[in-house]
Protein backbone atom coordinates (compact mmCIF):
# COMPACT_ATOMS: atom_id res chain seq x y z
CA UNK A 1 0.00 0.00 0.00
CA UNK A 2 1.38 3.36 -0.92
CA UNK A 3 1.76 5.70 2.01
CA UNK A 4 -0.57 8.36 0.74
CA UNK A 5 -3.54 6.00 0.50
CA UNK A 6 -6.41 7.51 2.45
CA UNK A 7 -9.58 5.46 2.67
CA UNK A 8 -13.03 6.93 2.23
CA UNK A 9 -15.26 6.03 5.13
CA UNK A 10 -18.99 6.47 5.08
CA UNK A 11 -20.55 6.78 8.50
CA UNK A 12 -24.23 6.46 9.33
CA UNK A 13 -24.71 8.19 12.67
CA UNK A 14 -27.90 8.11 14.64
CA UNK A 15 -29.42 11.48 15.26
CA UNK A 16 -29.82 11.17 19.01
CA UNK A 17 -26.52 9.76 20.25
CA UNK A 18 -23.71 9.27 17.77
CA UNK A 19 -24.34 12.40 15.74
CA UNK A 20 -24.45 14.38 18.98
CA UNK A 21 -21.27 12.57 20.01
CA UNK A 22 -19.62 13.66 16.79
CA UNK A 23 -20.85 17.17 17.50
CA UNK A 24 -19.32 17.06 20.94
CA UNK A 25 -16.04 15.87 19.48
CA UNK A 26 -16.18 18.90 17.21
CA UNK A 27 -17.12 21.49 19.83
CA UNK A 28 -14.52 20.17 22.23
CA UNK A 29 -11.96 20.53 19.43
CA UNK A 30 -11.04 16.85 19.38
CA UNK A 31 -9.17 16.06 16.19
CA UNK A 32 -10.54 13.06 14.44
CA UNK A 33 -9.45 11.83 11.04
CA UNK A 34 -10.99 13.61 8.05
CA UNK A 35 -11.54 10.42 6.00
CA UNK A 36 -15.05 10.12 7.24
CA UNK A 37 -18.17 11.38 5.53
CA UNK A 38 -21.18 11.47 7.78
CA UNK A 39 -24.78 10.72 6.91
CA UNK A 40 -27.18 11.47 9.71
CA UNK A 41 -30.01 9.01 10.13
CA UNK A 42 -32.75 9.05 12.71
CA UNK A 43 -31.75 5.71 14.17
CA UNK A 44 -29.16 3.03 13.50
CA UNK A 45 -32.16 0.77 12.98
CA UNK A 46 -33.04 2.82 9.93
CA UNK A 47 -29.88 1.83 8.12
CA UNK A 48 -30.76 -0.79 5.58
CA UNK A 49 -27.85 -3.18 5.15
CA UNK A 50 -28.21 -2.63 1.43
CA UNK A 51 -26.96 0.93 1.98
CA UNK A 52 -23.74 -0.66 2.95
CA UNK A 53 -23.44 -2.73 -0.20
CA UNK A 54 -24.32 0.33 -2.22
CA UNK A 55 -21.73 2.43 -0.43
CA UNK A 56 -19.04 -0.13 -1.17
CA UNK A 57 -20.17 -0.18 -4.79
CA UNK A 58 -20.01 3.56 -5.08
CA UNK A 59 -16.57 4.16 -3.68
CA UNK A 60 -16.54 3.77 0.09
CA UNK A 61 -13.55 1.83 1.41
CA UNK A 62 -15.20 1.30 4.73
CA UNK A 63 -18.53 1.85 6.42
CA UNK A 64 -19.37 2.73 9.99
CA UNK A 65 -22.77 2.47 11.58
CA UNK A 66 -23.05 4.08 14.94
CA UNK A 67 -25.98 4.28 17.32
CA UNK A 68 -26.96 4.64 20.93
CA UNK A 69 -25.77 2.15 23.53
CA UNK A 70 -28.07 -0.85 23.88
CA UNK A 71 -30.97 0.15 26.04
CA UNK A 72 -30.52 3.87 25.32
CA UNK A 73 -32.17 3.96 21.92
CA UNK A 74 -34.44 6.94 21.45
CA UNK A 75 -36.88 4.57 19.84
CA UNK A 76 -36.28 1.98 22.57
CA UNK A 77 -35.16 -0.93 20.41
CA UNK A 78 -33.94 0.28 17.02
CA UNK A 79 -30.32 -0.42 17.78
CA UNK A 80 -31.09 -3.97 18.85
CA UNK A 81 -32.46 -4.71 15.41
CA UNK A 82 -29.50 -2.98 13.83
CA UNK A 83 -27.11 -5.06 15.87
CA UNK A 84 -28.55 -8.31 14.53
CA UNK A 85 -28.64 -7.11 10.98
CA UNK A 86 -25.11 -5.85 10.79
CA UNK A 87 -23.76 -8.87 12.56
CA UNK A 88 -25.16 -10.97 9.73
CA UNK A 89 -24.33 -8.56 6.93
CA UNK A 90 -20.74 -8.43 8.12
CA UNK A 91 -20.53 -12.21 8.07
CA UNK A 92 -22.03 -12.34 4.62
CA UNK A 93 -19.67 -9.76 3.18
CA UNK A 94 -16.78 -11.58 4.79
CA UNK A 95 -17.92 -14.76 3.04
CA UNK A 96 -17.88 -13.03 -0.31
CA UNK A 97 -14.35 -11.87 0.36
CA UNK A 98 -14.82 -8.36 1.68
CA UNK A 99 -12.33 -7.64 4.43
CA UNK A 100 -14.33 -7.58 7.68
CA UNK A 101 -12.43 -4.45 8.70
CA UNK A 102 -14.50 -2.49 6.21
CA UNK A 103 -17.72 -3.01 8.10
CA UNK A 104 -17.79 -1.42 11.52
CA UNK A 105 -20.36 -0.67 14.09
CA UNK A 106 -20.12 1.25 17.31
CA UNK A 107 -22.17 2.56 20.18
CA UNK A 108 -21.35 6.20 20.84
CA UNK A 109 -23.49 8.25 23.19
CA UNK A 110 -23.96 12.01 23.06
CA UNK A 111 -21.42 12.48 25.83
CA UNK A 112 -18.70 10.36 24.27
CA UNK A 113 -16.85 12.82 22.07
CA UNK A 114 -13.57 11.20 22.94
CA UNK A 115 -14.89 7.75 22.14
CA UNK A 116 -16.10 9.01 18.80
CA UNK A 117 -12.54 10.00 17.93
CA UNK A 118 -11.28 6.57 18.95
CA UNK A 119 -13.91 4.85 16.88
CA UNK A 120 -13.04 6.89 13.82
CA UNK A 121 -9.33 6.30 14.29
CA UNK A 122 -9.86 2.59 14.56
CA UNK A 123 -12.24 2.45 11.59
CA UNK A 124 -9.77 4.33 9.42
CA UNK A 125 -6.89 2.19 10.60
CA UNK A 126 -8.77 -0.98 9.72
CA UNK A 127 -9.79 0.33 6.31
CA UNK A 128 -6.22 1.41 5.65
CA UNK A 129 -5.03 -2.04 6.44
CA UNK A 130 -7.62 -3.55 4.09
CA UNK A 131 -6.48 -1.27 1.27
CA UNK A 132 -8.60 0.28 -1.46
CA UNK A 133 -11.97 -1.36 -1.96
CA UNK A 134 -11.71 -2.51 -5.54
CA UNK A 135 -13.65 -5.73 -5.45
CA UNK A 136 -17.11 -4.85 -6.57
CA UNK A 137 -16.85 -1.14 -6.94
CA UNK A 138 -18.80 0.22 -9.87
CA UNK A 139 -16.07 0.74 -12.36
CA UNK A 140 -16.48 2.25 -15.76
CA UNK A 141 -16.17 -1.14 -17.35
CA UNK A 142 -15.83 -0.68 -21.10
CA UNK A 143 -17.77 2.55 -21.00
Amino acid sequence: MSEEYEPNILAFLCNWCSYAGADLAGTSRTHYLPNIKIIRVMCSGRVNPLFLVNALQQGADGVLISGCHPGDCHYLEGNFYARRRFMLMRKLLEHVGVDPGRVNMSWVSASEGAKFKEVIDETVAKAKEAGPMDQFRRRQLNW
Binding site: P49, L50, V53, N54, Q57, P70, G71, E77, F80, Y81, R83, R84, R85, M87, L88, M89, R90, K91, L92, L93, E94, H95, V96, G97, V98, D99, P100, N104, M105, S106, W107, E118, V119, E122, T123, Q135, F136, R137, R138, R139, L141
Partner: protein, 327 residues
Amino acid sequence: MVDETILREKAREVLARDDVRRLIGWKRGTYGYESAPAVLKDASQADELIFDPTCVQNPASFITLEEKLPVPRGQDPDTRKVAVLVKGCDSRAVVQQLVEKAYTRDGVIVLGVPCTGVVDRRKAQKMFGDTSEPVMIKEEGDKFVFIIDGETREGPRAELLADKCVRCRFPNPLVYDELVADEVAVWGADEFADVDEFEKMSPPEKWKFWEEQFSKCIRCYSCRNVCPMCYCLECVVTKQKPQWTRRSTDVSENTAYHIQRAWHLSGRCIECGECERVCPVDIPITTLNRKMTRDVKELFSYEPGVDVEAEPLLSCYNPQDPEEYIM
Protein backbone atom coordinates in the same frame (compact mmCIF):
# COMPACT_ATOMS: atom_id res chain seq x y z
CA MET B 1 -42.19 -45.68 -0.17
CA VAL B 2 -44.96 -43.51 -1.47
CA ASP B 3 -47.80 -45.35 -3.14
CA GLU B 4 -48.89 -43.16 -6.03
CA THR B 5 -52.41 -44.56 -6.04
CA ILE B 6 -52.92 -43.43 -2.44
CA LEU B 7 -51.37 -40.06 -3.28
CA ARG B 8 -53.72 -39.60 -6.20
CA GLU B 9 -56.71 -40.76 -4.21
CA LYS B 10 -56.00 -38.25 -1.47
CA ALA B 11 -55.43 -35.52 -4.02
CA ARG B 12 -58.66 -36.37 -5.75
CA GLU B 13 -60.54 -36.09 -2.48
CA VAL B 14 -59.02 -32.70 -1.78
CA LEU B 15 -59.63 -31.41 -5.30
CA ALA B 16 -63.23 -32.52 -5.15
CA ARG B 17 -63.85 -30.23 -2.18
CA ASP B 18 -65.72 -27.02 -2.93
CA ASP B 19 -63.39 -24.91 -0.85
CA VAL B 20 -60.26 -25.91 -2.77
CA ARG B 21 -59.12 -23.86 -5.71
CA ARG B 22 -56.02 -25.69 -6.84
CA LEU B 23 -53.59 -28.37 -5.85
CA ILE B 24 -49.88 -28.17 -6.44
CA GLY B 25 -47.85 -31.33 -6.84
CA TRP B 26 -45.65 -33.01 -9.38
CA LYS B 27 -46.28 -34.63 -12.72
CA ARG B 28 -44.21 -36.44 -15.32
CA GLY B 29 -41.94 -34.17 -17.35
CA THR B 30 -41.72 -34.13 -21.11
CA TYR B 31 -38.20 -35.48 -21.43
CA GLY B 32 -35.21 -36.92 -19.62
CA TYR B 33 -34.93 -36.73 -15.85
CA GLU B 34 -37.39 -33.86 -15.60
CA SER B 35 -40.57 -33.81 -13.64
CA ALA B 36 -42.84 -30.80 -13.77
CA PRO B 37 -44.70 -29.01 -11.05
CA ALA B 38 -48.39 -29.72 -11.55
CA VAL B 39 -51.03 -27.15 -10.79
CA LEU B 40 -54.32 -28.99 -10.84
CA LYS B 41 -57.76 -27.44 -10.71
CA ASP B 42 -60.01 -30.41 -11.20
CA ALA B 43 -60.34 -33.77 -9.51
CA SER B 44 -60.24 -35.50 -12.89
CA GLN B 45 -56.62 -34.41 -13.28
CA ALA B 46 -55.46 -36.19 -10.13
CA ASP B 47 -54.10 -39.13 -12.12
CA GLU B 48 -51.42 -36.87 -13.55
CA LEU B 49 -49.76 -36.71 -10.15
CA ILE B 50 -46.61 -38.67 -9.48
CA PHE B 51 -44.08 -38.98 -6.75
CA ASP B 52 -40.69 -40.46 -7.46
CA PRO B 53 -37.05 -39.40 -7.18
CA THR B 54 -37.45 -36.96 -10.09
CA CYS B 55 -39.75 -34.76 -8.00
CA VAL B 56 -37.11 -32.27 -7.02
CA GLN B 57 -39.15 -29.08 -7.33
CA ASN B 58 -40.52 -27.34 -4.28
CA PRO B 59 -44.30 -26.97 -4.68
CA ALA B 60 -44.38 -24.45 -1.84
CA SER B 61 -42.79 -21.93 -4.23
CA PHE B 62 -45.91 -21.97 -6.35
CA ILE B 63 -48.30 -21.02 -3.56
CA THR B 64 -47.05 -17.45 -3.58
CA LEU B 65 -46.32 -17.20 -7.30
CA GLU B 66 -49.91 -16.66 -8.29
CA GLU B 67 -50.61 -13.03 -9.14
CA LYS B 68 -53.24 -11.32 -7.06
CA LEU B 69 -55.30 -9.31 -9.49
CA PRO B 70 -57.71 -6.68 -8.29
CA VAL B 71 -61.14 -8.15 -7.73
CA PRO B 72 -63.64 -6.69 -10.23
CA ARG B 73 -66.29 -4.48 -8.71
CA GLY B 74 -69.30 -6.44 -7.54
CA GLN B 75 -67.40 -9.73 -7.24
CA ASP B 76 -66.21 -11.40 -4.09
CA PRO B 77 -62.55 -12.33 -3.79
CA ASP B 78 -61.78 -16.01 -4.28
CA THR B 79 -61.00 -17.27 -0.79
CA ARG B 80 -60.81 -20.93 -1.63
CA LYS B 81 -57.85 -22.85 -0.31
CA VAL B 82 -54.71 -23.94 -2.07
CA ALA B 83 -53.67 -27.53 -1.49
CA VAL B 84 -50.04 -28.45 -1.76
CA LEU B 85 -48.05 -31.65 -1.72
CA VAL B 86 -44.81 -31.25 0.19
CA LYS B 87 -41.70 -33.26 0.85
CA GLY B 88 -39.93 -32.70 4.14
CA CYS B 89 -37.76 -29.89 2.83
CA ASP B 90 -40.69 -28.26 1.06
CA SER B 91 -42.72 -28.31 4.26
CA ARG B 92 -40.09 -26.10 5.88
CA ALA B 93 -40.92 -23.49 3.27
CA VAL B 94 -44.57 -23.71 4.24
CA VAL B 95 -43.61 -23.35 7.90
CA GLN B 96 -41.50 -20.30 7.21
CA GLN B 97 -44.16 -18.74 5.00
CA LEU B 98 -46.61 -19.24 7.86
CA VAL B 99 -44.15 -17.71 10.32
CA GLU B 100 -43.97 -14.68 8.07
CA LYS B 101 -47.72 -14.63 7.64
CA ALA B 102 -47.53 -14.90 3.88
CA TYR B 103 -50.91 -16.60 4.20
CA THR B 104 -52.87 -18.18 6.99
CA ARG B 105 -52.84 -21.81 8.03
CA ASP B 106 -56.52 -22.03 7.10
CA GLY B 107 -55.69 -20.92 3.58
CA VAL B 108 -53.67 -24.01 2.72
CA ILE B 109 -54.18 -27.73 2.84
CA VAL B 110 -50.87 -29.50 3.20
CA LEU B 111 -50.51 -33.08 2.09
CA GLY B 112 -47.22 -34.38 3.44
CA VAL B 113 -45.09 -36.74 1.39
CA PRO B 114 -42.31 -38.43 3.38
CA CYS B 115 -39.34 -38.54 1.04
CA THR B 116 -36.21 -40.62 0.90
CA GLY B 117 -34.28 -38.31 -1.37
CA VAL B 118 -34.43 -37.09 -4.95
CA VAL B 119 -32.04 -37.40 -7.86
CA ASP B 120 -29.88 -34.52 -9.02
CA ARG B 121 -30.56 -34.22 -12.73
CA ARG B 122 -27.06 -33.02 -13.51
CA LYS B 123 -25.46 -35.94 -11.70
CA ALA B 124 -27.71 -38.38 -13.53
CA GLN B 125 -26.94 -36.75 -16.88
CA LYS B 126 -23.23 -37.12 -16.24
CA MET B 127 -23.64 -40.77 -15.32
CA PHE B 128 -26.09 -41.94 -17.96
CA GLY B 129 -26.27 -39.24 -20.60
CA ASP B 130 -29.41 -37.50 -21.69
CA THR B 131 -32.47 -38.58 -23.60
CA SER B 132 -35.56 -37.02 -25.11
CA GLU B 133 -37.87 -39.62 -23.61
CA PRO B 134 -39.02 -39.32 -19.99
CA VAL B 135 -36.93 -41.46 -17.66
CA MET B 136 -38.49 -43.52 -14.87
CA ILE B 137 -36.60 -43.69 -11.62
CA LYS B 138 -37.18 -45.97 -8.67
CA GLU B 139 -35.32 -46.28 -5.43
CA GLU B 140 -34.18 -49.75 -4.44
CA GLY B 141 -32.13 -49.90 -1.29
CA ASP B 142 -28.96 -47.96 -1.81
CA LYS B 143 -29.44 -47.79 -5.57
CA PHE B 144 -31.55 -45.81 -7.96
CA VAL B 145 -32.93 -47.83 -10.83
CA PHE B 146 -33.46 -45.91 -14.05
CA ILE B 147 -35.44 -46.91 -17.08
CA ILE B 148 -33.88 -44.93 -19.90
CA ASP B 149 -35.28 -45.44 -23.40
CA GLY B 150 -36.53 -48.85 -22.33
CA GLU B 151 -33.22 -49.94 -20.87
CA THR B 152 -32.76 -50.53 -17.15
CA ARG B 153 -29.71 -48.89 -15.59
CA GLU B 154 -28.58 -48.65 -12.00
CA GLY B 155 -26.60 -46.12 -10.07
CA PRO B 156 -25.51 -45.78 -6.45
CA ARG B 157 -27.86 -43.66 -4.40
CA ALA B 158 -25.09 -41.78 -2.65
CA GLU B 159 -23.65 -40.50 -5.92
CA LEU B 160 -26.94 -39.50 -7.49
CA LEU B 161 -28.71 -37.91 -4.56
CA ALA B 162 -29.18 -34.15 -4.76
CA ASP B 163 -26.83 -32.30 -2.42
CA LYS B 164 -29.67 -31.09 -0.27
CA CYS B 165 -30.80 -34.67 0.24
CA VAL B 166 -27.38 -35.93 1.28
CA ARG B 167 -27.52 -33.79 4.40
CA CYS B 168 -31.32 -33.84 4.80
CA ARG B 169 -32.47 -33.79 8.40
CA PHE B 170 -36.14 -33.37 7.70
CA PRO B 171 -37.29 -36.08 5.27
CA ASN B 172 -40.71 -36.04 6.94
CA PRO B 173 -42.96 -33.03 6.54
CA LEU B 174 -43.00 -30.74 9.56
CA VAL B 175 -46.43 -29.36 8.90
CA TYR B 176 -49.26 -31.25 7.26
CA ASP B 177 -52.94 -31.96 7.39
CA GLU B 178 -52.45 -35.47 6.22
CA LEU B 179 -49.54 -37.74 5.36
CA VAL B 180 -49.82 -39.85 2.24
CA ALA B 181 -47.31 -42.45 3.42
CA ASP B 182 -45.55 -43.60 6.58
CA GLU B 183 -42.78 -41.50 8.00
CA VAL B 184 -39.24 -42.49 7.07
CA ALA B 185 -36.09 -42.66 9.15
CA VAL B 186 -33.84 -39.61 9.30
CA TRP B 187 -30.35 -40.04 7.86
CA GLY B 188 -28.77 -36.60 7.60
CA ALA B 189 -26.68 -34.89 10.24
CA ASP B 190 -26.50 -31.27 11.23
CA GLU B 191 -23.10 -30.37 9.87
CA PHE B 192 -21.52 -27.58 7.90
CA ALA B 193 -18.28 -29.12 6.71
CA ASP B 194 -18.74 -27.46 3.31
CA VAL B 195 -18.99 -24.02 4.91
CA ASP B 196 -15.98 -24.69 7.14
CA GLU B 197 -14.01 -25.82 4.13
CA PHE B 198 -14.87 -22.65 2.22
CA GLU B 199 -14.02 -20.45 5.18
CA LYS B 200 -10.44 -21.68 5.13
CA MET B 201 -9.83 -19.42 2.16
CA SER B 202 -8.44 -15.95 2.67
CA PRO B 203 -10.61 -12.96 1.71
CA PRO B 204 -8.79 -12.42 -1.62
CA GLU B 205 -9.19 -16.09 -2.47
CA LYS B 206 -12.86 -15.99 -1.60
CA TRP B 207 -13.36 -12.94 -3.74
CA LYS B 208 -11.50 -14.53 -6.63
CA PHE B 209 -13.89 -17.45 -6.44
CA TRP B 210 -16.99 -15.29 -6.26
CA GLU B 211 -15.82 -12.85 -8.89
CA GLU B 212 -15.65 -15.67 -11.39
CA GLN B 213 -19.01 -17.04 -10.28
CA PHE B 214 -20.85 -13.72 -10.21
CA SER B 215 -19.44 -12.61 -13.53
CA LYS B 216 -21.27 -15.54 -15.13
CA CYS B 217 -24.64 -14.37 -13.85
CA ILE B 218 -27.05 -13.30 -16.58
CA ARG B 219 -29.54 -11.91 -14.06
CA CYS B 220 -32.43 -14.02 -15.22
CA TYR B 221 -33.62 -13.89 -11.60
CA SER B 222 -34.75 -17.49 -11.72
CA CYS B 223 -33.00 -18.11 -8.38
CA ARG B 224 -35.10 -15.35 -6.90
CA ASN B 225 -38.35 -16.36 -8.53
CA VAL B 226 -38.10 -20.05 -7.72
CA CYS B 227 -37.32 -19.34 -4.09
CA PRO B 228 -40.32 -20.09 -1.88
CA MET B 229 -39.19 -17.32 0.44
CA CYS B 230 -38.88 -14.66 -2.29
CA TYR B 231 -42.49 -13.68 -2.57
CA CYS B 232 -42.33 -9.90 -2.27
CA LEU B 233 -44.69 -8.14 -4.64
CA GLU B 234 -41.99 -5.73 -5.65
CA CYS B 235 -38.37 -6.79 -5.38
CA VAL B 236 -35.76 -4.29 -4.29
CA VAL B 237 -33.46 -5.28 -7.14
CA THR B 238 -35.99 -4.41 -9.82
CA LYS B 239 -37.25 -1.27 -8.15
CA GLN B 240 -36.59 1.81 -10.24
CA LYS B 241 -37.27 4.53 -7.72
CA PRO B 242 -34.94 4.42 -5.88
CA GLN B 243 -32.78 2.14 -7.95
CA TRP B 244 -30.39 0.26 -5.69
CA THR B 245 -29.21 -2.21 -8.27
CA ARG B 246 -28.70 -1.34 -11.89
CA ARG B 247 -29.98 -3.56 -14.59
CA SER B 248 -26.69 -3.74 -16.44
CA THR B 249 -24.80 -6.96 -15.91
CA ASP B 250 -21.30 -6.54 -14.62
CA VAL B 251 -19.41 -7.95 -11.67
CA SER B 252 -20.36 -5.06 -9.44
CA GLU B 253 -24.10 -5.18 -10.02
CA ASN B 254 -24.22 -8.96 -10.09
CA THR B 255 -22.38 -9.11 -6.78
CA ALA B 256 -24.71 -6.55 -5.28
CA TYR B 257 -27.66 -8.61 -6.46
CA HIS B 258 -26.35 -11.83 -4.99
CA ILE B 259 -25.42 -10.19 -1.70
CA GLN B 260 -28.87 -8.66 -1.46
CA ARG B 261 -30.48 -11.96 -2.25
CA ALA B 262 -28.46 -13.90 0.29
CA TRP B 263 -28.98 -11.17 2.84
CA HIS B 264 -32.73 -11.17 2.41
CA LEU B 265 -32.70 -14.90 2.94
CA SER B 266 -30.58 -14.94 6.04
CA GLY B 267 -32.60 -16.47 8.81
CA ARG B 268 -35.22 -17.41 6.23
CA CYS B 269 -33.56 -19.87 3.87
CA ILE B 270 -34.96 -23.34 4.36
CA GLU B 271 -32.34 -25.07 2.23
CA CYS B 272 -34.51 -26.57 -0.47
CA GLY B 273 -31.67 -25.93 -2.89
CA GLU B 274 -33.97 -24.76 -5.67
CA CYS B 275 -31.94 -21.62 -6.39
CA GLU B 276 -28.86 -23.58 -7.25
CA ARG B 277 -30.77 -26.20 -9.19
CA VAL B 278 -32.42 -23.68 -11.51
CA CYS B 279 -29.33 -21.60 -12.24
CA PRO B 280 -28.60 -21.88 -15.96
CA VAL B 281 -24.98 -20.88 -15.45
CA ASP B 282 -24.20 -23.07 -12.43
CA ILE B 283 -23.51 -20.46 -9.78
CA PRO B 284 -23.15 -22.23 -6.41
CA ILE B 285 -25.77 -20.04 -4.78
CA THR B 286 -26.45 -22.28 -1.82
CA THR B 287 -22.87 -21.75 -0.66
CA LEU B 288 -23.93 -18.24 0.32
CA ASN B 289 -27.15 -19.36 1.91
CA ARG B 290 -25.52 -22.19 3.81
CA LYS B 291 -23.07 -19.77 5.34
CA MET B 292 -25.91 -17.57 6.56
CA THR B 293 -27.81 -20.58 7.87
CA ARG B 294 -24.76 -21.69 9.82
CA ASP B 295 -24.10 -18.24 11.26
CA VAL B 296 -27.70 -17.66 12.19
CA LYS B 297 -27.66 -20.94 14.06
CA GLU B 298 -24.39 -20.22 15.83
CA LEU B 299 -25.07 -16.61 16.71
CA PHE B 300 -28.76 -16.64 17.46
CA SER B 301 -29.55 -20.36 17.93
CA TYR B 302 -32.22 -19.92 15.31
CA GLU B 303 -33.31 -22.27 12.61
CA PRO B 304 -35.89 -21.08 10.11
CA GLY B 305 -38.76 -23.22 8.93
CA VAL B 306 -39.01 -25.67 11.80
CA ASP B 307 -41.37 -23.98 14.22
CA VAL B 308 -44.64 -22.40 13.12
CA GLU B 309 -44.79 -20.46 16.37
CA ALA B 310 -41.36 -18.85 15.93
CA GLU B 311 -40.86 -15.16 15.26
CA PRO B 312 -38.95 -14.14 12.14
CA LEU B 313 -35.30 -13.74 13.05
CA LEU B 314 -34.81 -10.15 12.00
CA SER B 315 -38.05 -8.81 13.32
CA CYS B 316 -37.16 -9.69 16.86
CA TYR B 317 -34.07 -9.33 19.01
CA ASN B 318 -32.55 -10.53 22.18
CA PRO B 319 -30.91 -7.92 24.46
CA GLN B 320 -28.10 -10.43 24.94
CA ASP B 321 -27.33 -10.79 21.24
CA PRO B 322 -23.60 -11.13 20.53
CA GLU B 323 -21.83 -7.87 19.81
CA GLU B 324 -18.15 -8.67 19.99
CA TYR B 325 -17.41 -6.73 16.82
CA ILE B 326 -19.06 -3.53 17.99
CA MET B 327 -16.73 -0.80 19.10
